[in-house]
């Protein structure tokens, strides 16, 4: 009992001495905090007077361009004294999530890019995260704007009366342009006795048997990343029914069960039946497709202009050419293209003017030529096209025949896009017929239209 009391007493004493110590230390620490706050505030005041160097913060996802960006940042700092800090966040999915989270938290950097559909781009603008660059672009009779390919600007532009009700204007600076075409391996076609690349779908389908007989894969593409299926199908939708009918379908005026759409879906069945599609194309990621084509394991690829850089890295001796997807309809084939990557200025940035000036410098001919040379991408600035390689030149010539969902006046529901792309996968694996797929996609379209009407 006595021992217990002693322990309790000791405990009380310890607690008292601890509290005493805490109290005296608390006052001491509080005094230090107050003094240091005043001192640091004073320091801050002094630095304001001496005008600290401006630092522009840029977030991006382009792993292949990071070194080039840092080199350009160094050159810009030498020229202007303004420091530009490029921060790379990859892969692109993680980057997208980071930008969204930063937008919600209000911690976006001075310059950033978004990898999203036009709908999400519009939300960023409406939420006040993106500066309208029109006044700068249009200044001096559109001097800055006129440097770019019109398609590159269109992707970053909201026109009057746009469906998202965004104030009309240009909201991004394109860094490069791209388009997605078909590529053919010259040596493999020669080996198969094919003298020239196919112009029509009929010619293309006929090549399937020849290639198969030689054990050569036909077409490879990253159709495991379903947006590339969407891109291929959209090319043919424009080719088979024309732009106007495609837009009317998105508006809900033409059903997906229309004969022309069934022809689009049926195209994938024909490609598969002819043996042209590579084994496992439905789950093939684009990196695998690029490896197969670069290593001459496949005769054709469906890929974007960025592939020039990728193939050069994988196999510098690859002999290949670019071509439009073989014709199947009466209307002009439209391929996806436009701004490859764009950078936006944070409207709430404290260095907004400096950020815009930097982007103007970055998109000028000299810097664009450097970026194009180092990264082998098509420059967005049309004034430096003379310095590009022949294969990039092939791609650049197709720019006028490009389109992109981001420049269409209407936009399809994401749920319909998902159903559309996944259904095409099911046609390729022989699970569903084009007719059934058309009905299923239309059902989802109607459901979403009803939801919107509510």
């Amino acid at each position: 009992m006595r021992g217990k009391n002693e322990r309790m007493q000791a405990g009380m004493n310890m607690k008292k001495s601890f509290l005493k110590c805490f109290k005296s230390n608390f006052y001491f620490l509080f005094s230090i905090f107050v003094i240091s706050t005043f001192l640091t505030a004073g320091c801050g005041g002094n630095s304001e007077i001496s005008k600290p160097a401006v630092t522009i913060s840029v977030w991006h996802w382009m792993t292949d361009r990071d070194n080039a960006f840092n080199e350009l940042a160094k050159r810009y700092e030498e020229k202007t004294g303004i420091k530009v800090k490029f921060e790379l966040y990859a892969p692109s999915d993680s980057y997208t999530q980071k930008v969204r989270a930063a937008a919600q938290a209000g911690t976006l950097p001075d310059i950033f890019g978004i990898l999203a559909e036009k709908r999400d781009f519009a939300s960023f603008v409406i939420a006040g995260h993106v500066a309208n660059l029109s006044p700068d672009m249009e200044k001096d009779a559109g001097l800055w704007k006129n440097d770019f390919f019109s398609r590159a600007i269109a992707v970053n532009e909201f026109l009057p009366d746009n469906e998202f009700r965004v104030t009309p204007g240009i909201y991004g600076v394109p860094l490069d342009v791209m388009n997605i075409q078909m590529l053919y391996n010259k040596d493999l076609l020669k080996q198969a006795g094919i003298k020239k690349p196919p112009k029509t779908l009929e010619e293309f389908l006929a090549m399937g048997e020849k290639l198969k007989a030689l054990g050569i894969q036909g077409l490879v593409s990253g159709w495991g990343e379903v947006w590339m299926i969407d891109c291929f199908a959209s090319n043919y939708a424009f080719n088979i029914m024309g732009e106007e009918k495609v837009m009317r379908t998105i508006k809900g005026e033409v059903p997906y069960t229309d004969a022309d759409w069934i022809k689009v879906f049926g195209l994938f069945k024909e490609l598969n039946d002819s043996g042209l599609l590579a084994n496992g194309i439905v789950t093939m990621v684009n990196k695998t497709a690029e490896q197969l084509f670069a290593n001459s394991k496949a005769a054709f690829a469906f890929n974007g202009s960025w592939c020039v850089n990728v193939y050069a890295g994988m196999n510098p001796n690859l002999s290949y050419g670019a071509m439009f997807p073989p014709n199947y309809g009466e209307f002009p084939m439209k391929i996806w293209g436009g701004a490859g990557s764009s950078l936006l200025v944070n409207d709430r940035s404290l260095v907004k003017k400096e950020a815009i000036d930097f982007l103007r410098w970055l998109s000028s001919a000299e810097q664009q030529a450097y970026l194009s040379e180092v990264t082998k991408n098509l420059p967005a600035n049309k004034n430096c096209l003379t310095k590009i390689s022949p294969i990039l030149s092939d791609f650049s010539q197709a720019m006028e025949a490009t389109t992109h969902p981001n420049i269409w006046p209407v936009h399809e529901f994401p749920q319909v896009i998902e159903a559309f792309d996944k259904s095409i996968q099911s046609i390729i694996i022989g699970e569903k017929t084009p007719q059934r797929v058309a009905e299923e996609v239309q059902k989802i379209k109607e459901r979403e239209l009803q939801k919107r009407a509510r």
Partner: protein, 291 residues
């Protein structure tokens, strides 16, 4: 004085409470709030839609199919993965030569990145140049050659097997640790009483291992139901919807369709399903233990 003392005591726990509140309670409540909204994740405004997200989930066939797919992966993990883990743990529990080396080897797959494992197995299972198909061809078993990851009949099973291969090391280590806590005297006594190996296993090992089995089963269920990185690295965005699992559907709603409210509602439903499964399993284990 007493009040001051109490106040100071509360002051000491305040940081922990704040951290718990900010990083656990607030997000938890926020998910519930968002599940009742229609929000694209960017705009500052949200639209209250009540329970319509939950109603939509109830009729979302792709969502419930994805739940079955996760269940299938879990079933394979519970049987194949844990069966293999138990067999290897029983083997390593005996005094075998190079036992420690085997323990290290068996624990390598779990410490590998899921992305790396997925890519390696994608390469092994590749329909064109994969090692597996080459091996079948070399052995003259041409009928078995196929596009393993592009065939709806085999894609999900391949994913489940790779997931089990990657995960069995965890079960192995936990089960081995459990086996080593069983007193050796019990085995010796059983042998003296004339029990054979099977009787020793069923009458001593299994009953004493039930708490360990219970823990391994819970961990397997929770780990397998939430698998998704492995799937992305093996089949990209999926083979139609045959390889979709709930976490991938939640991601698709959030980043693909920009429907944060719907994604949060999916998250709540998925969480509830996991709680129900875990609770049922716990109750079952308790009953078996009592029996």
């Amino acid at each position: 004085m007493k009040a001051k003392s109490i106040l100071i005591n509360y002051l000491f726990v305040l940081p922990a409470v704040l951290i718990f509140g900010i990083f656990y309670i607030y997000p938890f409540l926020k998910v519930f709030q968002l599940s009742l909204m229609e929000w694209d994740g960017i705009l500052p405004t949200m639209q209250f839609v009540g329970i319509s997200n939950f109603k939509e989930i109830m009729t979302d066939k792709i969502w419930w199919d994805s739940m079955w797919h996760a269940g299938y992966i879990t079933l394979i993990a519970l049987t194949f993965q844990n069966g293999l883990a138990l067999l290897l743990a029983l083997a390593c529990d005996r005094e075998i030569k190079y036992g420690n080396i085997f323990r290290v080897i068996f624990f390598i797959p779990p410490i590998l990145s899921e992305v790396v494992v997925g890519l390696i197995w994608q390469w092994i299972l590749d329909g064109n140049y994969g090692i597996l198909n080459n091996a079948f061809n070399a052995m003259g078993m041409h009928s078995l050659v196929r596009n393993w990851l592009s065939d709806p009949k085999t894609a999900l099973t391949c994913i489940a097997v790779v997931h089990s291969w990657k995960g069995f090391g965890w079960g192995f280590i936990i089960l081995l640790a459990g086996l080593q806590t069983i007193p050796k005297q019990l085995y010796e006594a059983a042998k003296v009483d004339g029990a054979d190996s099977w009787q020793v296993f069923t009458k001593i090992t299994i009953p004493l291992m039930i708490p360990v089995f219970s823990m391994v089963i819970i961990l397997t269920i929770l780990g397998s139901m939430q698998v998704f990185v492995l799937i992305i690295s093996m089949v990209g965005q999926g083979l139609v919807h045959h390889t979709d699992v709930p976490v991938l559907r939640i991601l698709a709603s959030m980043t693909g369709s920009s429907r944060f409210g719907y994604a949060c509602a999916q998250g709540i439903i998925f969480g509830l399903v996991l709680i129900i499964i875990s609770f049922t399993q716990k109750k079952l284990s308790e009953r078996i233990k009592q029996a």
